[in-house]
């Protein structure tokens, strides 16, 4: 299973590989920040004083506060690093939730067909056509009332937004794979529906999911920050969230105070770009319309000393030209 998921990464070439590597590197830095947050930050994410001494308000970046402090007396460097933890937790949760729900629904819907299928397609299409941010706003509005806010409520309100994408892809591939010979063979030897879905269809249908997953991760982060920016996301005492911090910094930015806005802004931008690069790189290799495969090494049997060098030079280059 894992080799099936990781297969596309190995077969990348040229620009696609370069995009992938850059994306993985950027994302890796943020993962480190998220993991090491308690040890590399001078203060907790919602800490206004150190050893009983109140932090300064809107202090400019200095040796003591690397990124300065904001209008809520928070140390911005700490907020940015802790924010990575919040962002990655919410992303992982929401992508996992929507992936599991979307894939299962898509498999069942595509395999069973009939009215269930039609109804689900119709519902998800209607949701998909709707502005995702608006959907997330309405859901987080309701969920924060019901669950009392926090990271899980934020992740759940994003989940709903992304289910339709997995559903669509998986359902469509299932519909076309359902009539394939190997599925017919499985049915002929008496395999149960659940076995066909989990053993035969799942592996063949799930291949495009990692691409959607990474692209969604980028989008989910932007939506999460958007929610925070509009004031419907995670509250500042629950966790550090970049979008919220930027919203707080708006008025200061209008007045020319740049540091409360620019650091969380750069963090969002970098992580979104990192995740997008991974998605783009994968897409380039998985989408057959864009794919360029690495040339297979051809080893010619040596016939004479003169020709063996030519064969080696002709196959070493990984980046091929136009087909």
């Amino acid at each position: 299973m894992l080799s099936r998921l990781l297969g596309p990464i190995r077969s990348t070439t040229g620009t696609a590989r370069w995009l992938l590597v850059a994306g993985v590197a950027i994302t890796g830095v943020f993962v480190l920040m998220a993991l090491l947050a308690p040890w590399i930050t001078p203060t907790d994410f919602a800490q206004r004083s150190v050893d009983g001494v109140k932090l300064p308000k809107l202090a400019s970046p200095s040796g003591e506060h690397w990124f300065g402090t904001n209008d809520q007396f928070y140390d911005i460097f700490s907020r940015v690093v802790w924010g990575a933890r919040t962002a990655l937790t919410v992303i992982v949760l929401s992508v996992l939730f929507s992936l599991v729900i979307g894939v299962v629904l898509g498999l069942v819907s595509g395999y069973v067909g009939g009215w269930t299928d039609r109804l689900l397609v119709f519902l998800t299409d209607a949701l998909y056509a709707f502005p995702s941010l608006l959907l997330a706003i309405v859901f987080s509005f309701v969920l924060s009332n019901a669950l009392g806010g926090g990271v899980v409520a934020a992740a759940l309100s994003l989940t709903v937004v992304y289910i339709p994408q997995y559903f669509r892809v998986v359902r469509n591939t299932t519909v076309s794979a359902r009539e394939a010979t190997y599925v017919e063979a499985a049915r002929a030897i008496g395999a149960k529906d659940t076995t066909i879905m989990s053993r035969y269809l799942f592996g063949n249908v799930v291949q495009s999911v990692p691409v959607i997953g990474t692209l969604n991760a980028a989008d989910a982060l932007a939506t999460l920050a958007g929610l925070g920016f509009l004031g419907f996301g995670i509250q500042p005492n629950e966790a550090a969230e970049w979008g919220y911090d930027i919203e707080r910094a708006l008025d200061d930015a209008q007045a020319g105070v740049w540091w409360p806005a620019i650091f969380p802004g750069a963090a969002i931008a970098l992580l979104v770009i990192g995740l997008t690069l991974i998605g783009e790189g994968l897409n380039e290799t998985v989408n057959p319309a864009l794919r360029r495969r690495r040339l297979q090494e051809v080893v010619m049997p040596a016939r004479g000393l003169a020709t063996s060098g030519v064969a080696a030079a002709g196959t070493a280059d990984g980046t091929e030209g136009e087909r």
């Binding site: 620009t15 209008q254 931008a269």
Partner: protein
């Protein structure tokens, strides 16, 4: 496009129009149920604490939210079908007048953004697709990825900070004087200023449009670059391009005459799909620049827990998305003979 059956264009349009109704119905239902599931009723949430208990009960009765859910739901559906969206709770404004008063600002913002995106996005996309894997391609794609990936409010903030010292307007749709002087006729400030013939006001409004439109336009421009590039790559692989080459037509004519045009057709479809993205982007852009559009209104009413206003505005957004995608599909059917309806 859904069915391969033979049909005429008018029939296709009617089919699509009929399909629109269930789409909007789903969204209206989801929003209705969600807002009702949320704990706390709209009256005590929006004006509770400020009024006496009797007055609150009177308001609940007037709103009809003391009746069973299905009754309220059917009534709401009936109202929507007759284009009655009700009034806001917190300031008693009819939803239609919110849409008329504030819709103009959102309209000019989004149109300006599309203009920016087309002017920047299409040429860059064509260059990138033409010279695949060159330095220019990589650069343009990185620009596209960045401008799409970076949230609009971050782009907006950077522009605000850059404009900081120059005195260029970074706030609102016009200066207070312009807003005061221009008589509202169409409620689209730019048009009103033009009608009044006040060139100073027109200039002022246009200046205020630059940064927000650029912000939202950069987001869309990322989409366009990517799309035009990929489409060009696909059309360049087409048989007719190969055939043109085989006839000995010089490469630049092949690209310009045969590939470019066909690469641009799918753009129309995608323009339709981007309406949802644009509206979401507009909400964030409006918030960043304190733009008096529908997005700002929606956020304000959400914060005030004003359910009828939120419901009305969200329904309106849904209608806009569905209607524009319908129009785009029809235009697409007219332009592209390959589209079967």
């Amino acid at each position: 496009m859904a069915s391969a059956a033979q049909g005429s264009l008018p029939r296709y349009v009617v089919q699509r129009l009929l399909l629109m109704i269930p789409m909007i119905w789903v969204v209206v239902t989801v929003v209705f149920l969600l807002l009702r599931v949320a704990p706390g009723d709209p009256v005590s949430a929006s004006v509770g604490g400020r009024l006496s208990e009797e007055e609150l009960d009177r308001r609940r009765e007037a709103l009809g939210i003391d009746r069973p859910l299905w009754q309220q739901y059917l009534e709401y559906l009936g109202d929507v079908a007759r284009f009655r969206f009700g009034e806001s709770l917190s300031d008693n404004r009819p939803i239609t007048s919110i849409i008329i008063d504030n819709g103009g600002a959102t309209l000019t913002l989004t149109l300006g953004a599309f203009l920016v995106a087309l002017v920047i996005g299409i040429p860059l996309g064509l260059v990138a697709g033409r010279r695949r894997d060159s330095a220019a391609d990589v650069g343009i794609r990185l620009f596209g990825i960045t401008s799409y990936a970076v949230p609009v409010f971050v782009t907006g903030l950077v522009l605000v900070l850059l404009a900081g010292g120059t005195g260029w307007p970074t706030y609102d749709i016009a200066s207070p004087i312009t807003k005061f002087q221009v008589e509202p006729v169409t409620h689209i400030l730019l048009v009103d200023a033009l009608i009044a013939g006040d060139m100073g006001a027109v200039g002022d409004v246009l200046q205020h449009h630059v940064l927000p439109c650029l912000t939202l336009g950069l987001l869309l421009c990322g989409v366009f670059i990517r799309l035009v590039r990929v489409n060009l790559l696909m059309t360049m692989k087409g048989d007719y391009v190969e055939a043109a080459r085989a006839r000995g037509i010089p490469e630049r004519y092949v690209v310009r005459r045969h590939a470019f045009r066909n690469a641009l057709v799918p753009l129309i479809t995608v323009l339709g799909l981007q309406v949802a993205l644009t509206l979401a982007g507009a909400i964030l852009t409006e918030r960043t620049f304190n733009w008096p559009g529908l997005g700002t209104q929606l956020v304000d009413y959400l914060n005030a827990r004003d359910y009828p206003a939120v419901q009305g505005l969200v329904t309106f957004f849904a209608v806009i998305v569905v209607v524009t995608s319908l129009i785009v599909d029809i235009v697409n059917a007219l332009v592209d003979p390959r589209v079967r309806y």
